[in-house]
Amino acid sequence: MIGRLIDWLHDRTGIRTIREVLFDEPLPPGTGWFFTLGSVLLALIGIQVLTGAFLTLYYAPTPDHAYDSVRFISSTTAGRLVRGLHHFGASFIVVAAALHMLRVIGFGSYKPPRELTWLSGLGALGLILAFALTGYLLPWDQRAYWATVVTINISKLAPVAGDVVAGIMRGGSAIGALTLTRWYAAHVIFLPAILIAIVAAHLVLMRRQGISGPVRTHKGPSTAFFPAQTARDVTVVSIVVIALFVLAWRGMPAMEGPADPTDATFIPRPEWYFLGLFQLLKYFPGKLEVVGAIIIPTVLGALLALLPWLDRGPERDPRRRRVVTVGVLVGVVAVVALTTLGWRDKPASAAAADTWSMRAIGGRQFAANAKCARCHSESGMADPLEQVSMSRGPEWLAGHVADPEMIAPGLREPPAAVTEREAAALVAYVRQVTREPYPGYPQPIETAAGVWARYCVGCHVIDGDGGSDGPELSHIGSKHDTAALREWIVDPEAAKPDTDMPAFGKRLTAAQLDAIAQYLANRK
């Protein structure tokens, strides 16, 4: 029955030739496991296309909603899995593409007549990296935002065209809505269209010239792709796909907070496959930066592109092509070493962002004073503070905590007045409490935090947060004891007549003075 249907279709469309093209491809004898990597790449690209297409069902490419929509996607098991497959699939593709390229170089498969197959493959690799870069911005979290800031600034280093290129990538005058829609369009429309064309060309060329086969010609007749080689391909593809599912099942790396251009505590780090480049930049400070960012990658890319013309001899055995083999090995070692160094070179303060800052602890008291819970409660008009969506920009939040009436008119009585510093502390508190429950701090620390967040933070820095008019106080306890600090805060001019710091003796209660002096003295 099905056979007769296919016969009918074949008579009108020639459909059976598809099978011949796909499965009856003659392979040189000795073709084996090394030649499965192309199929792995093809399968992974297929999974990216499918999961990506389905992710667009829920994703919204606007700064106001991108973060929320990604969080929404991650709120179901299926969503987490689909996003996980797409996320880790990107890494898998980079690895598979690199291995495929190393196989081609090792077997000398780029030699005539396959120069164009080689070039199209290299083009596809470039596109894969462009996919990785553009896709990275889409969740619009801190990591995404800052990685994009760095990418666009690197592109500015390009000679002559740098500013134009950066402008094209940015879309608008700053990274924002226009950047996001631009990168989204590139990621889901333009890049896929080009990739499909290049991959099609790559496959047509491969099929036309046949695969290169083992380095030394084996004896015997050529074999068909189906079923022996197909089975090898399918076996490796299955192992890779199972590994991908396992990774996706075990979970995504957590989303950072929403993109916040004003947040100085966040330390951006690129995805692992760009860590090597990231590390390279550290060795070229100042004006030399362009060497690490543009010149070295361009030269390497050009060398790879010219490989078929640099290595002209007919010899394919890597042991007899010493220059190429050694060069590529050095390159691989360099990339692995740079990536490892970049991986290990984690700034120590990266962890500090996860702990409660004094500002956030202080903000909790201001939240209680401002009666936020009148609306932000389980039975109230708005979600409890622990569950609010912090997807809004800092200006909106500052405006809302300073005057909720402005954001939600008519919904409540006019709010208690909140100062600018209290507003900043409230924002810090809500940002923290939506990530983790309030752990509880001893009363003196809370009191000190209230004082810190309302007064000290205007001029002093602790753990990277605060104003810069006064000295940094992160380790003040190693210089002064509690009594000295308390006296200083009560009346700074008594100790140093020309100081700019105002006296707090009359503004703070005795308990507040004790608490803040004690807290600072403990900062050693």
Binding site: E20, D24, P26, A43, I47, L50, T51, F54, L57, Y58, A60, H65, D68, S69, R71, F72, S75, T76, A78, G79, L81, V82, L85, G220, P221, S222, T223, A224, F226, P227, A228, T230, A231, V234, T235, V237, S238, V241, F245, S379, G380, M381, A382, S389, A408, G410, L411
Partner: protein
Amino acid sequence: MSHPVDSSVSPGRRRALVLLVNGAVAAIGGALSALLGVFALKPAAAASRDRWIRAGALSDLEPSVPAVRVLVVPRIDGWYRARAPQTVFLVWDGKKDVRAVSATCTHLGCQVHWDGKDHKFRCPCHGGVYDPSGKVLEGPPPRPLDSLDARIDSADDTVLVRL
């Protein structure tokens, strides 16, 4: 092009290989299809919940005369937090009781208006007519206007409606 039969593969081995290829492709394809199907068809349920919304002061109402109020209702729509305006009529009995009636016609969802002269709700779309309590008098509506929970907050004499 003829079908070159791979002579290096015995018939039994060939059958096993075909089984392996078909099985693996079916397993991967099946798993992906199932996952993407669930993902597409079952998004996270919207977590909207009913809230008591302040609908105005009792002193603004006349006994037994439906008064129209547009209430702004926070709605969670997937990833989007909307403030959806919703029209309700408040009907006060002149004493301790207030009823709230949805303005959405039960026929096809148009918004009814209050005809003060005839003392009836009229739907502008297909001629549905309701009495002040929401009961159908004429036209195609299949059931009375939906009534909503309403109460008077005795602390400040305002009307609360649950939406």
